[in-house]
C-alpha cells in the first residue's frame, strides 16, 4: 500500500492536497484496495457546496457502495469528469485520479499527515 507524503488524510480514507487556496480531493490506495474494482463514481456538480465530514458523492464497486466524505468545507470548483467513463483510474492511480477540487475552503476536518495515516491504516488493516 502506498501513501503520498505530500497529502493530508481523513479517517474515512480520502486524501486532500491544498494548493493556492484550492483543495484537491481523492481516495487513498487503502480505500481503493478495500473497495475492489470501482465501477462507478457519483459526482457532485461544480458550484455545489461541500461540508467537512459530510458525504459529497459515492463510489460503487460491484457489491458495495461507499460514501465519499469531504475533508473540507467550501464550493466545488471542478469535478474530474474523466472518472465517469474511466472509474478504474481510482484503482490504478488513486493519488493521480483526483475527484473534486474545492474552492473558498472555510473549514477542515481533523486531518492526518502521512505518518499518522500510515499508523492509522495499520490499526484498521
Amino acid at each position: 500500500m502506498t501513501i503520498n507524503p505530500d497529502m493530508k488524510y481523513t479517517k474515512s480514507h480520502e486524501w486532500v492536497k491544498e494548493e493556492d487556496g484550492i483543495a484537491v480531493v481523492g481516495i487513498t490506495d487503502f480505500a481503493q484496495d478495500a473497495l475492489g474494482d470501482v465501477v462507478f463514481v457519483n459526482l457532485p456538480e461544480a458550484g455545489d457546496e461541500v461540508v467537512a465530514g459530510e458525504s459529497f458523492g459515492d463510489v460503487e464497486s460491484v457489491k458495495a457502495v461507499s460514501d465519499l466524505v469531504s475533508p473540507v468545507s467550501g464550493i466545488v470548483q471542478a469535478v474530474n469528469e474523466e472518472l465517469i467513463d474511466a472509474p478504474e483510474m481510482l484503482n490504478s492511480d488513486p493519488y493521480g485520479a483526483w475527484i473534486i477540487k474545492v474552492e473558498q475552503v472555510n473549514d477542515r476536518e481533523e486531518l492526518m499527515d502521512a505518518d499518522d495515516y500510515e499508523a492509522f491504516c495499520a490499526e484498521e488493516g
Binding site: 474494482d37 465501477v39 462507478f40 460503487e60 460491484v62 457489491k63 472509474p87 478504474e88
Partner: protein
C-alpha cells in the same frame, strides 16, 4: 444461445388476427421510427422459449435452500385455480355485483391470514414484500400524523435486517437508526433502550430473525417501543417458521407484511410477481390503502386497483388445502428440516450459532476460509456443479463468509441427506483441491461472469450489428 432478435427473418409471422371488419382510421400523427421487433413464426417462438426454459433452475428442478426466500414447492392446483376464466377474464372496474367471487377470495384470504398473523385488518394491494413494508410503514406514519405527532422522524432497524427495511424507512421519509445485534443475533436490549425516545416512529423487525433464531425477548422489545410511543412493524419474511404456533400479533406487533410468494407457496416467477399482504391491528385499519377508482379518494394507495389478485387466488387455494391442521404442520416441518440439515452439516461446516434454529440457519465460513482459502462464494458456486441452488450468500451482514440455508418443509429426508453429503464432499475438496473450487462452477451454463465489466461498460440491450 442466440438472442431472439438474431433469429428474426424479415416477413416471417404467425396468423393471429382476422382482417379488420370496420373502416380503417388514420390517426393524425403516427410513429416515424421503424418498429424493429423480431419476426418469427410460432414454432420459432416456441423453440426459443423452450431453449431458454432449459437454462433455468426452478424449485421443480432441484433443491433450493435459499435462506430468507422460502423456496417451497409450488402446487399445481394453485396454478389451475389462478387460470380459471372466472378469475382471469374479470375487469377490475366491473360492477361490484358482478365480482362477488373475487371479493370473496379477498375476504376469505384476509380472514385466514388475519387469524394466522393475529391481526384485525388486511390489504392485498401491495405487489411484493418490499411494497408491503412500504405500505406498513406508511400505516405507522399516518397514525402519528393523525395524532398531530410530528416529532417522530426515526425508524429503528437492526443491523441484521434485510436491505429492504432501511430502504423502506428512507422511502417513507424516516431517518434510519441502526441498532447493533447482540452476539447471538438477537436485539440487544440495552442498545435498543439507548435509542428509544419521543423521536422514534417505530421499529422494523423480523422474528425469527435473519440468523434463524427466535428472539426470546420479543415481548419486552415490543413493550419498550410502545412505551416510548412508537409502533412495531413485523417483516413477515420469516413467517414460515411459526405459522400456527406463534402469532406476530401476540408478540406485540401492530402491523405486518406477509410474502404470499414465500410462505403461502405462490411461485417466484424468476423474480415476481409476488404479493405482499399487509395486516394491521384494528386501530390502524382506517389507514389501509384503497384504489381511488374502485373505492374512492381519501386513502393512501400503493398500486393500481386491488393488487396482484391472481397471486391471492393461488395463496387461498394453498390455505384451503392445508387448513387448520396443515398450516402448523408446514411450519413445524420447516423447522425440523432446518435443524436436521444443520445437524448433518455440522460435522463439516460450522453454524454461526450452534443452537436449535427455526426455519433457517447460517453457516460461518470465516475459519474455514482462513484454513483452506476457499470462500463462501467458492462453496456456493461448487454447489451449482452439484445441481443444487446455492444458499443465500454473505447475508446477514453480521456474519462473515455467511451461507444461509432454508430447506423448507417440502423437502424430503433423502434430499436433505444428499445435500449434507454434497456439503461434506465440498468440505473435503476444499482441503485437497482448493484451486478447483476457486474456479467453480465447471459444469454450469456459463463460468463465473465478469460483473466488473458489466457494471463499468453497461450493455443493457441488444443493438443490431
Amino acid at each position: 444461445m442466440k438472442l431472439i432478435f438474431e433469429k428474426s427473418v424479415p416477413g416471417r409471422h404467425s396468423s393471429l388476427l382476422p382482417p379488420c371488419d370496420v373502416p380503417a382510421f388514420e390517426l393524425p400523427e403516427t410513429r416515424q421510427e421503424p418498429l424493429e421487433l423480431p419476426e418469427l413464426c410460432e414454432n420459432d417462438v416456441s423453440r426459443h422459449y423452450t431453449q431458454l426454459c432449459q437454462r433455468v433452475h426452478g424449485v421443480n428442478c432441484g433443491f433450493y435452500p435459499l435462506g430468507s426466500c422460502t423456496m417451497k414447492y409450488n402446487p399445481r392446483i394453485d396454478e389451475e385455480a389462478a387460470s380459471l376464466p372466472g378469475f382471469t377474464n374479470v375487469h377490475p372496474l366491473a360492477p361490484k355485483a358482478s365480482v362477488k367471487g373475487s371479493l370473496e377470495v379477498l375476504d376469505l384470504a384476509a380472514r385466514y391470514l388475519c387469524e394466522i398473523s393475529g391481526m384485525d385488518g388486511m390489504t392485498f394491494q401491495p405487489a411484493a414484500g418490499a411494497h408491503g413494508e412500504f405500505t406498513g410503514v406508511l400505516l405507522i406514519k399516518q397514525y402519528h400524523d393523525a395524532r398531530g405527532d410530528k416529532a417522530r422522524t426515526k425508524i429503528i432497524v437492526p443491523d441484521s435486517a434485510h436491505g429492504t427495511n432501511p430502504a423502506t424507512a428512507a422511502m417513507c421519509g424516516y431517518d434510519v437508526v441502526n441498532v447493533a445485534s447482540a452476539p447471538n443475533g438477537c436485539v440487544d436490549l440495552e442498545a435498543l433502550k439507548a435509542v428509544l425516545g419521543p423521536d422514534i416512529a417505530g421499529l422494523m423487525l423480523t422474528n425469527p430473525n435473519t440468523v434463524g433464531i427466535f428472539d426470546e425477548n420479543i415481548l419486552e422489545i415490543t413493550r419498550l417501543v410502545h412505551a416510548c410511543g412508537g409502533l412495531c412493524y413485523y417483516d413477515g419474511a420469516n413467517l414460515n417458521a411459526v405459522m400456527g404456533h406463534v402469532r406476530p400479533g401476540d408478540m406485540g406487533f401492530d402491523c405486518i407484511h406477509m410474502n404470499l410468494h414465500k410462505t403461502f407457496a405462490t411461485p417466484h416467477g424468476g423474480g415476481g410477481p409476488g404479493a405482499g399482504a399487509v395486516g394491521c391491528k384494528a386501530f390502524l385499519k382506517e389507514f389501509l390503502p384503497k384504489s381511488a377508482l374502485m373505492e374512492g379518494e381519501g386513502h393512501i394507495q400503493v398500486r393500481g386497483f386491488a393488487g396482484n389478485f391472481l397471486v391471492v387466488v393461488r395463496a387461498l387455494a394453498y390455505l384451503l388445502t392445508l387448513g387448520r391442521e396443515g398450516v402448523p404442520e408446514a411450519s413445524a416441518n420447516a423447522v425440523l428440516n432446518a435443524n436436521y440439515l444443520m445437524q448433518k452439516i455440522k460435522g463439516s461446516f460450522t453454524p454461526a450459532f450452534d443452537r436449535v434454529c427455526m426455519h433457517e440457519f447460517v453457516l460461518d465460513l470465516s475459519e474455514f476460509k482462513k484454513e483452506t482459502g476457499v470462500s463462501a462464494l467458492d462453496v456456493a458456486k461448487s454447489l451449482i456443479d452439484n445441481g443444487m441452488h446455492p444458499p443465500t450468500m454473505y447475508f446477514p451482514l453480521i456474519v462473515h463468509e455467511a451461507l444461509m440455508l432454508e430447506p423448507t418443509e417440502t423437502e424430503s429426508k433423502e434430499t436433505l441427506d444428499e445435500a449434507a453429503e454434497v456439503f461434506r464432499k465440498l468440505y473435503d475438496l476444499a482441503h485437497t483441491d482448493p484451486e478447483y473450487m476457486h474456479a467453480a462452477p465447471h459444469h454450469a451454463q456459463i463460468g463465473r461472469p465478469d460483473e466488473v465489466a458489466a457494471a463499468r461498460n453497461p450493455v443493457v440491450r441488444w443493438v443490431k450489428a
